[in-house]
């Protein structure tokens, strides 16, 4: 046990320069990715997409129409919520509702109460809520339809791309026009709400979209319907749940968090920070893990056990019996000082000696040591036991513990 000292230790902590050298590449990569993301975002945001989006440039968008309307001097106010729509719309304005079926009866009431003129695109199940006494029916979609009515806007436009939904029922209120009939039902209906403001029901969105605006008289019809007032509120509703938090009517229960007092939210955030700090505290390791190469662990008897499994799977009883017999003959010959294993004569001599010593018939012993292979596994197990018994009788000791070692 010698004792010695080595020169001083070496600190492994990285200095500031080391840290900078290590992190500058990842840092540069992250900055580059952020820049690319920002640039892409700016490029993307200028070109909107989406169904009847006034800034939408794809087929279902309506940027062409909104540009046309703006050129006519119509002031367009895009809104997404009922509250904004109600705030923006007055009795002299037109409100375009792109998905009227998305609104709840409560929202519809608030919208109707503004007194504004409503243009509904492809309204279906909610039609009675806007215009009582009217309902929608599915009709054919012929592509191009003739106006066939006295409405000035329809007269000017001529044929247009309408169809899909028709409106049936009492159209007698207010001006009450029924144009572009398909299968006998008008796909453009002008009626009024209970409070008397005008409601225009448009059976299909096609006349307003970028894709079909320049077909037939679509553009003229759209301009005629939407350009009647100076201000147009372009309302693209969002689903009810997303709008719930802006404190809707009685039929819109607020989210769970709205019911909690204000201090709970702040306390929960502060607790989350505490949990994050605890995680950092527990995560930091006191020095690195130490690894070491481990020795190979292979049992020396592995091959023997593998061979046993092979015998078992192959049901090689003949081979197993032969091995057990050979080993027994070897051991018996060694204890009786006979020349073992070589030639049938040697086995015969062994059988004779054993018969003399144990008093058992020679034929029985010969059958045991040189007989046919066992027919099944039970016979093999019995053969092994019989050989053991014979060895015990022949040597007067435990057989399998003995080992014919040559040294």
């Amino acid at each position: 046990m010698s004792t010695a000292t080595l020169p001083e230790s070496r600190s492994l902590d990285p200095t500031g320069a080391d840290q900078w050298r290590r992190w500058r590449r990842p840092l540069a990569t992250v900055v580059l990715l952020l820049l690319v993301a920002i640039v892409l975002g700016i490029v993307q945001s200028s070109a909107g997409r989406g169904y009847l989006n006034p800034e939408g440039v794809d087929n279902a968008g309506a940027r062409a129409l909104s540009r046309l309307l703006a050129g006519q001097g119509v002031e367009i106010t895009p809104v997404r919520t009922t509250a904004d729509a109600v705030a923006a719309a007055g009795p002299d304005d037109t409100v375009l509702v792109t998905v009227p079926d998305l609104l709840t009866p409560g929202q519809i009431d608030r919208l109707v109460d503004t007194g504004a003129r409503l243009v509904l695109v492809a309204a279906d199940v909610r039609v009675p809520d806007y215009a009582p006494g009217l309902s929608a029916v599915l009709v054919d979609d012929p592509g191009s339809t003739e106006p066939d009515c006295a409405l000035p806007a329809a007269q000017r436009a001529g044929s247009a791309r309408l169809g899909g939904l028709g409106y049936t029922g009492d159209l007698s209120r207010s001006a009450g026009a029924a144009c572009y009939p398909v299968d006998g039902e008008p796909s453009l209906a002008v009626t009024a709400t209970e409070s008397g403001n005008e409601v225009v029901l448009l059976g299909a969105a096609d006349p307003l979209t970028n894709e079909h605006l320049d077909d037939d008289g679509n553009a003229a019809l759209a301009l005629g319907l939407l350009g009647q007032t100076e201000r147009l509120v372009w309302y693209r509703p969002v689903p009810e749940a997303a709008e719930a938090s802006d404190g809707g009517g009685d039929d819109q229960p607020g989210a769970f968090t709205d019911q909690l007092p204000g201090w709970v939210r702040a306390a929960v955030w502060q607790l989350a920070i505490a949990v994050a700090l605890a995680a950092i505290w527990r995560a930091r390791r006191l020095g690195r893990l130490v690894t070491e190469p481990l020795p190979v662990v292979v049992r020396a008897s592995e091959t023997t056990e593998g061979r046993a499994r092979l015998y078992r799977r192959g049901r090689s009883r003949e081979h197993a019996a032969m091995l057990l017999r050979t080993a027994a003959i070897r051991r018996l010959a060694a204890t009786m000082r006979l020349p073992g294993e070589s030639g049938p004569g040697a086995v015969d001599a062994l059988v004779t000696t054993l018969a003399a010593r144990t008093g058992r018939p020679a034929a029985e012993i010969a059958a045991l040591l040189t007989g046919p292979p066992p027919a099944d596994d039970t016979a093999l197990v019995r053969l092994a036991d019989d050989i053991d018994a014979l060895e015990n009788a022949g040597t007067g000791s435990s057989p399998t513990g003995k080992d014919p070692r040559p040294s």
Partner: protein, 431 residues
């Protein structure tokens, strides 16, 4: 930089403050800012682990099964007190009893940290890093840093067979003529003449000297000395197999140690060689005085290699070391295929010039498998075990037929059996 649980606790208390006094985002921000500021102040006040100067002293070696103590001197060369935790990291098999210690070193002072090792495996064990976490006076946060303080402890083989040594040495003395019983035999050489005392063998009377001297004079004899014993350890793939709880190589090392100690004590020249495809250990001309120390040192770092041993090259290495007649002891495993293809074809070249002893580590599990009876699984396993035993016996027979002595025993019995064979060969003058 590190933080402690107190920072998290402080932030949790802050939640109460936020809820009671300032339930808003501003409140959350303010409380968190205060907590972080306190933590940063603590970091600034903590002593720097980088300023520590560490050095080691203590044990360089340990016998497997005993423990070693390595001391670490911690000198604080920085301006501030270093208070916190120190971890002296060692590999798992070095068996560090407690590798985390609380330390408190004021500026300019020195502290001693002791690490007790209880190794679980043979070989060299190198210390990993020393990591110090220094916590500031508030106990909120601190700094952490690591140092490389190299140190290696060599774990020596346990030499379990040591208990067989005294009895074998006693038998050696019986052979040697120093004890009362004298054996005159083939393996002896003339030592000296002395006067006859009662009990001496009358056949040992030297008549010519008796005539010259007047009294009855007898010749005394002693066993041959200064013979060459070359122990060869096979570190190839057969030495990697586990017998019981340890690889074959460990049993082979025990065998080599016992035989080496005995032969060196008997006055023979002992050389040691470990070989698979290249020389792994080579110790020549071992003295009786430091035979164990040198052998143990060379054998401690020996590991089984997963290679097929090149016996042809091995025979060449033996021939280069033993120019005259020698006892060559090859410690290996008698795996039939490896030996049949490798050792058998070349063993003849060794046996013509030398006395060759092949010592093999047998697997007791073979015997227990061969005794399996009762159901078909056990009987198939017994047949497989008999197959391997027959093959081993056959290989041993072939080796014997070519003039080698074969000792095939389980790990615990092998060292004394080889020692006995050596003594027998010595007594009969076949060294």
């Amino acid at each position: 930089m590190v933080i402690t649980g107190r920072v998290a606790a402080l932030a949790a208390i802050g939640a109460v403050v936020v809820a009671a006094a300032v339930p808003s985002w501003a409140g959350v921000l303010a409380v968190t800012a205060v907590v972080l500021a306190l933590a940063l102040a603590d970091v600034a006040l903590a002593g720097s682990p980088r300023a520590l100067r560490l050095s080691r002293s203590g044990d360089r070696t340990a016998r497997l099964g005993t423990s070693a103590v390595v001391r670490l001197s911690v000198h604080n060369a920085g301006a501030r007190r270093v208070r916190g935790v120190l971890r002296d990291a060692w590999p798992p098999s070095a068996g560090a009893v407690a590798d985390r210690v609380a330390v408190d070193v004021p500026s300019g002072e020195r502290r001693l940290v002791e690490t007790e090792l209880r190794p679980t495996r043979r070989g060299d064990r190198a210390a990993d890093r020393v990591t110090v976490r220094s916590i500031g006076p508030l106990g909120l946060a601190g700094r952490q840093g690591s140092h490389a303080v190299p140190w290696t402890v060599r774990v020596l083989p346990p030499f379990h067979a040591r208990r067989h040594l005294p009895s074998r040495l006693a038998r050696l003395r019986e052979l040697d003529g120093r004890a009362a019983v004298r054996v005159r035999g083939q393996g002896t050489e003339f030592d000296s003449l002395r006067e006859y005392v009662r009990g001496d063998d009358v056949r040992s009377i030297d008549w010519r000297a008796t005539a010259r001297h007047g009294g009855v004079v007898v010749r005394t004899w002693r066993p041959e000395r200064d013979r060459h014993v070359l122990i060869v350890l096979d570190t190839g793939r057969t030495s990697a197999g586990r017998v019981g709880d340890e690889p074959r190589l460990d049993a082979a090392i025990d065998t080599a140690l016992l035989l080496g100690a005995l032969a060196a004590r008997a006055g023979d020249r002992v050389d040691l060689l470990a070989f698979d495809r290249q020389v792994r250990a080579d110790v020549a001309r071992l003295d009786a005085t430091d035979v164990l120390r040198r052998m143990v040192g060379a054998l401690a770092v020996l590991e089984p290699e997963l290679l097929e041993t090149d016996y042809r090259q091995l025979v060449a290495e033996v021939a280069a070391r033993a120019r005259q007649h020698a006892l060559v002891v090859i410690v290996t495993g008698l795996d039939s295929s490896a030996v049949e293809l490798g050792l058998l074809p070349v063993i003849g070249r060794l046996t013509t010039r030398h006395t060759v002893l092949v010592a093999s580590v047998a697997d007791p599990r073979l015997a227990s498998l061969a005794a399996g009876r009762g159901d078909s699984d056990a009987v198939y396993a017994a047949a497989a075990a008999e197959h391997d035993r027959l093959a081993r016996a056959q290989v041993a027979e072939l080796l014997t037929r070519r003039g080698a002595h074969v000792v095939d025993r389980p790990p615990a019995d092998l060292p004394p059996a080889v020692a006995d064979t050596y003594l027998e060969l010595k007594a009969t003058g076949r060294l």
